[in-house]
Symmetry: C2
Subunit: 302 residues, 2 copies
């Protein structure tokens, strides 16, 4: 590698990017995996905006480079690992692969894959993600299993967006006298200032992250013993329990629960699920670095 003003940095440089529906994180590390810089970008789920996704990745990368004292043009020497939501769909995977990217190399995989590599410090393993969406992922002996990851409103039981939509449904049913009454009705009125059909007005065209914001109300109502909210939370966590069971059946050694709702949902999981969970070791963007390093090693034949 050519020496320059930053000759103290041990090359090659790896970039790890974790792109999701609300934001994008990038970290820059040297050949010894020493952290040189990190950066944030905007939403990066290509399903909800392809150009925005590329912009967010570049933005986060330039921020990480700047923090490391490097110029934007240094992108051309980066071995990049990119984990993106949505690219489990073949059409989106191909669209991102076709990107004329500015990096030395770009290795693309799912956000689930890098989340798992991060949680298990580059080793194979499995994760359940419970945040705005929900899903399960396992990698054992090179074999990948993905459960769920279908996105809202097709699936994602137990996720924040799913809980939010279920909450809207039960409040609307109750307002028609066609479902049991629930304290969610009052919470909606107090917190959101809406009731009855006005709820529809407020959420028409809303995205999954707006639904997910309602999950805090559902969890609070469930804690307070509201039967309707309890039923939503239990249905959701029963799905996550079933995912956990399926993941264990793959022969995986470690399973971590991650995502924005992971902590809040722990107390609702079956004891058998909870007992076998391992703490995640590193963040997903680190998983993207491990992925880049492994793929680069494979290509280099090392």
């Amino acid at each position: 590698m050519a020496a320059g003003p930053d000759k103290a940095i041990k090359r090659p440089l790896y970039l790890g990017v974790d792109g999701g529906g609300s934001k994008c994180r990038a970290i820059l590390v040297d050949a010894d995996l020493q952290l040189l810089g990190s950066g944030l970008g905007g939403p990066a789920n290509p399903l909800h905006g392809f150009e925005q996704t590329l912009n967010s990745i570049i933005c986060a990368t330039d921020a990480a480079l700047a923090e490391a004292g490097l110029q934007p043009q240094a992108k051309s020497e980066l071995i990049s690992g990119l984990g993106l939501a949505g690219v489990n769909l073949p059409s989106l995977y191909q669209q991102v692969k076709n990107w004329s990217h500015p990096f030395a190399q770009l290795f693309l995989t799912t956000d689930l894959h890098i989340a798992s590599l991060g949680a298990h410090r580059g080793e194979e393993g499995s994760v359940i993600v419970a945040g705005t969406g929900s899903c399960g992922y396992a990698q054992v002996n090179g074999q990948t299993t993905i459960l769920g990851a279908h996105g809202f409103p097709f699936g994602d039981q137990g996720s924040g967006a799913w809980m939010g939509l279920e909450a809207i449904k039960v409040v609307l049913l109750a307002s028609d006298g066609l479902g049991p009454s629930t304290c969610l009705t009052q919470m909606f009125a107090e917190q959101l200032g809406v009731e009855g059909v006005m709820i529809v007005d407020k959420f028409a065209g809303a995205g999954s992250s707006e639904y997910a914001q309602l999950s805090a109300l559902v969890l609070r109502a469930a804690e307070a013993g509201d039967a309707v909210a309890l039923s939503i939370v239990k249905e959701g966590t029963a799905y996550l329990d079933a995912i956990a069971e399926k993941l264990w059946q793959t022969g995986v050694k470690r399973l971590s629960l991650i995502g924005g709702l992971g902590q809040a949902l722990r107390s609702w999981l079956a004891p058998a699920t909870l007992a076998r969970l391992s703490e995640p070791l590193m963040q997903p963007e680190w998983g993207a670095v491990y992925f880049a390093q492994q793929e680069h090693g494979n290509i280099s034949g090392t």
Copy 2:
């Protein structure tokens, strides 16, 4: 009224418009409610496109005028009744009310109201609509009750769109081994050419009418005894049964089941619901005419 080349037509002229998510129907009648002409326009749900809705209404009106041998400028003498999907939401109602329309008078109400007025030939009564969406409506002694009409994906249990989404959910769960197997999986593969996660790819961003097209598969699978499809259909019709019961409690004299799925769902309704259904007498666009005539009469003091 001024005499003209069309002096044989008995004035005032009434226009009745039924605007929905996929199309818009208009009829033109004379003072004795003799049909002079009818016309079709495009989608007219202001929730999914305000300008498109106005265009569709004008389009359907001009077609009805042309069939009656009248010029487009005759719109300025029409007493118009307009029943629109979506205007049960106050914001949309106001937006349409603010329209600088080309008619002599415009009386606006919901698609539900005109459907009920049509089904009961201008009299009060009630309807259950089961088509792309689902809901219940009753009018008794001037008091209106609306049940459901929340739209997709908030509610609309028993509707075509709801059945379609539920079908996608169970097929995806089955593909993960997290739900019971169903012959819907094979039907999706054969009829739509998709399975597993490809279903998500195909339906990402789909509208309610695209989901509703799947309801035919659900009904066919239920007829064939598929337990998963049966459970969807039974959950949906139980909701419609509950709506029927609530509507009877308003003291209504007649209840009609209408909408694109009405006929197909009859055999799945509870016998008690079915026994009390009355045939709809006229179409919703006629309900819009009755509404215009009644409102015009109220204003004229007759």
